[in-house]
C-alpha cells in the first residue's frame, strides 16, 4: 500500500512530464478504440449482411446443395421439416423456405444472369430484411398467381426498367426444358450489397415452383433465424440431430461464409498488431521518461534500499507509476473515444467514396462503429503488457543500483 501511495504521489512531482505521458497514452487509447470500434462495426455489418441476405443464421438444404447448388438438390419433405423446426426449437426460431434457381432476366433491351428466389411473402418477412428494404413500390402480395417480382434497384437500372414495367424470366426446369414467364415489377429494393442487388429476383414461391417444376412439398433451402441470445452452433446441433434421416444438411452462416469467419479472426489479430504499433511508439516515450525518472531519484532509491526496500519492491514502485499513468491516460482516452463513438454510432461514418468497394463485401457505405467488449479487453491487456515491457528496463536498472553509490549520487 505504501508503494501505491509513493507511486501515485511521485507521478505528480513533475506534472508537466506526467501529463505529456498521460496524453500520449490517451491519444493511443483513443486511436485504438476508434479504429477497433470501426473495424468491429464493419465486421458486424458484414456478418449481418451475410446472415440476412444469404440464408439466415442457419440454412437447411438438401445434402450437397452448398457445394453445388443444383436445382435437383432439394429439401423434399418441407412440411415435416417445418414441424421439426417448430418442435425442436420452440418459438425462438423463425424460418422461411425458398426455391432457388439460376436463370435469366430480360427487359426489352437488356438481359442478365440472375438467381431466381421463390419466397413465401409472409414467412420471408420474418427472416429477411429485403421486404423492409423495398424503396419503390411494395413487397410481394400473398397471391400465388399475381405475376409480380421484386428486384434490386441496381438490376433495374442495368436492365433499364422501372416500377410496374414487365420483365421476362427464363429458367431450366428439372427436366432441362427451358421455361419462361413474364412478370410485372412490383417493387425495387436497395441493400448494402450491390452484388446481391444486381443478381437477385424474388417472386412468389408457387410461381417459381410452377416454373421450375418442383414437387408440392419440395423447396431448395430453408433460412432459419434465431434470437440474439441464442447460440448458433447449439441450435444448429439441435436441428442436425432432429433432422437426421431427412437427407438434409444444416449449415450455419459460419459454415457458409468461412471468409467472414477468417476475417473476424483477422480483426482480432489486427487489434493486437494495432496495439503493438501504437504502443511501441508510446513505449519508447515511456522508456525515455522513466530513465529520466530514475536518474532524478537515484539518491531516493538508495535511501529506500538502505531502509530495507527490496529490489523487487523498487521495480514494483516503477511499475505502479507506469500503471497509474496508463490508467489515467486510458481513462482520458476512453472518455474521448466514448464521446466520439456515441456520436459516430448514431450518424455512422460515411464512406461513400469507397462505397463500391465496400458493397462488394456486403458492407454499406455508412459504417456504424460498435464496441465489442472482448476486443477492447484484449486490447487493454495488450496495452498493459506493452507498458510493462517498456518500463522493464528502467525498473531493472533502478533495482540494481549499488546502494552506497545511489545514496551518494548528486
Amino acid at each position: 500500500m505504501i508503494f501505491v501511495k509513493i507511486a501515485w504521489r511521485s507521478i505528480w512531482r513533475n506534472p508537466r512530464r506526467s501529463w505529456v505521458l498521460i496524453s500520449a497514452v490517451a491519444v493511443g487509447v483513443f486511436a485504438f478504440i476508434g479504429v477497433v470500434a470501426y473495424l468491429d462495426g464493419m465486421s458486424m455489418q458484414l456478418v449481418k449482411s451475410a446472415v440476412e441476405l444469404q440464408g439466415g443464421h442457419i440454412q437447411v438444404a438438401g445434402h450437397g446443395y452448398f457445394e453445388n447448388p443444383a436445382v435437383r438438390t432439394q429439401v423434399r419433405q418441407m412440411p415435416q421439416v417445418a414441424t421439426i423446426l417448430k418442435d425442436a426449437s420452440a418459438s425462438d426460431v423463425r424460418y422461411a423456405s425458398q426455391i432457388r434457381a439460376a436463370g435469366m432476366i430480360s427487359s426489352a433491351e437488356h438481359s442478365a444472369g440472375i438467381a431466381i428466389v421463390g419466397v413465401d411473402p409472409v414467412q420471408e418477412q420474418q427472416v429477411s430484411p429485403v421486404p423492409s428494404l423495398v424503396t419503390e413500390g411494395g413487397w410481394l402480395t400473398d397471391d400465388p398467381a399475381a405475376g409480380e417480382v421484386i428486384l434490386g434497384a441496381a438490376l433495374a437500372e442495368q436492365l433499364g426498367v422501372r416500377l410496374r414495367e414487365r420483365i421476362v424470366l427464363m429458367v431450366s426446369d428439372l427436366d432441362g426444358a427451358v421455361n419462361s414467364g413474364a412478370y410485372r415489377i412490383r417493387g425495387l429494393f436497395t441493400t448494402s450489397s450491390r452484388a446481391f442487388e444486381r443478381s437477385t429476383v424474388l417472386l412468389h414461391q408457387e410461381e417459381v415452383r410452377t416454373l421450375v417444376g418442383f414437387a408440392r412439398d419440395a423447396v431448395s433451402t430453408v433460412a432459419v433465424n434465431i434470437d440474439p441470445g441464442q447460440e448458433v452452433l447449439a441450435v444448429a446441433a439441435t436441428l442436425r440431430a432432429a433432422l437426421v434421416g431427412m437427407d438434409v444438411e444444416v449449415l450455419t452462416w459460419m459454415d457458409r461464409s468461412p471468409m467472414l469467419v477468417m476475417m473476424d479472426r483477422m480483426m482480432n489479430l489486427v487489434n493486437v498488431i494495432l496495439v503493438v504499433i501504437l504502443f511501441s511508439a508510446i513505449g519508447f516515450t515511456l522508456i525515455n521518461s522513466f530513465i529520466m525518472v530514475i536518474f532524478e531519484r537515484i539518491r531516493e532509491i538508495g535511501i529506500m534500499a538502505a531502509g530495507g526496500v527490496r529490489p523487487g519492491q523498487v521495480r514494483l514502485l516503477l511499475f505502479l507509476e507506469a500503471a497509474f499513468i496508463v490508467v489515467v491516460g486510458a481513462a482520458v482516452g476512453i472518455a474521448m473515444a466514448a464521446a466520439l463513438i456515441t456520436w459516430w454510432s448514431e450518424v455512422g461514418l460515411d464512406l461513400s467514396s469507397f462505397a463500391e468497394g465496400l458493397s462488394r463485401f456486403g458492407a454499406g457505405a455508412v459504417i456504424y462503429p460498435r464496441v465489442v467488449l472482448e476486443n477492447m479487453v484484449t486490447g487493454f491487456v495488450m496495452i498493459f503488457v506493452m507498458v510493462f515491457l517498456a518500463v522493464l528496463y528502467p525498473a531493472i536498472k533502478a533495482s540494481r543500483f549499488k546502494v552506497v553509490d545511489a545514496m551518494n549520487h548528486v
Partner: protein, 233 residues
C-alpha cells in the same frame, strides 16, 4: 568483551577502483568489534575510511577482502534481497541530510520501515507518535512533507524513522553536519538518552567534536587503519 559482539569485522579491506586509474585503498585491513549497547564514534580526518567502514557494517557496500558479521549474520552470505531484509530487521540509518522520502509526510516517513515489516496500523501509529513525542516533534508537523520542515525537524524525523522499528544497531553518518550546533547538541543528547534507556547500539561516523564528546567509545581511523580505540566513561 562478550563472546558474541554485535559487530565483528575481521581484516576489512576496501579498495575503490571505479572510474579511477589509481586504486584507492579506503580501508587497509581493519579488525573491529562493537558490543551491544555501545555509543561509539568513529572519528578521523576526511578520507580516513569512516564512512566506508560504516557502509560495510550497514551492508550498503561489500568489502574487497575480509569478513563482517553483524548480529551473528555473515553479510557476505546474503543476497541483494537478503541484505535488504537484514537492514530492515536489524539496522537503522541516520544520514547527513536529505534522507527522507519527499512524497511522504513526516509520519509516513517515520513509519516506513514498520510498514515494510507489516506492523499493524494502530501499532505503527502508536509507536511513531511516541517517538515523535520523545524527539519533540510537534503533532502539527506529522502531516507535513519534508520540504515543509526545517533541517532540524527533518533530522528528528529521520532519527524517529531509525528508532521506531527498534533496530539492534543504528548507524549514523555525520548526523549533525547539516544542523546548527544547538539543534545538533539537543539531538545527540536525545540519542544518548535513548541509548541509555533502550540499549540500542549507536555507531557514529563523525568529525564533529559534539559527537566525539558524547561518545563512550572513540575509534580514530587514519589512512584506512585504526589509529586509536579509547573507551570512556
Amino acid at each position: 568483551m562478550s563472546e558474541q559482539p554485535l559487530v565483528h569485522a575481521t581484516n576489512l579491506v576496501k579498495v575503490y577502483q571505479d572510474g579511477s586509474y589509481v586504486p584507492v585503498r579506503a580501508l587497509g585491513g581493519v579488525d573491529f568489534r562493537v558490543e551491544a549497547g555501545e555509543f561509539t564514534a568513529i572519528a578521523g580526518p576526511s578520507g580516513s575510511g569512516k564512512t566506508t567502514l560504516l557502509n560495510l557494517i550497514g551492508s550498503l557496500d561489500a568489502p574487497t577482502e575480509g569478513r563482517i558479521e553483524v548480529a551473528g549474520q555473515d553479510l557476505s552470505l546474503l543476497t541483494r534481497k537478503g541484505r535488504a531484509d537484514f537492514r530492515l530487521n536489524n539496522l537503522g540509518f541516520i544520514f547527513q541530510s536529505h534522507n527522507l522520502i519527499p512524497v511522504l509526510t513526516a509520519a509516513e516517513n517515520a513509519e516506513f520501515s514498520l510498514l515494510l515489516q507489516g506492523v499493524p496500523t494502530g501499532e505503527r501509529r502508536r509507536r511513531v507518535l511516541s517517538e515523535f513525542a520523545d524527539l519533540g516533534i510537534e503533532e502539527g508537523l506529522t502531516r507535513r512533507r519534508p520540504a515543509k520542515l526545517s533541517g532540524g525537524q527533518q533530522q528528528r524525523v529521520a532519527i524517529a524513522r531509525a528508532l521506531v522499528s527498534r533496530p539492534k544497531l543504528i548507524l549514523a553518518d555525520e548526523p549533525t553536519a547539516s544542523l546548527d550546533s544547538k539543534t545538533g547538541a539537543r539531538l545527540l543528547d536525545k540519542m544518548r538518552d535513548l541509548n541509555e534507556r533502550t540499549g540500542i547500539t549507536f555507531l557514529f561516523s563523525t568529525h564533529d567534536p559534539m559527537v566525539i564528546d558524547r561518545a563512550r567509545r572513540l575509534v580514530v581511523l587514519r589512512d584506512g587503519l585504526i589509529a586509536s580505540d579509547e573507551t570512556r566513561n
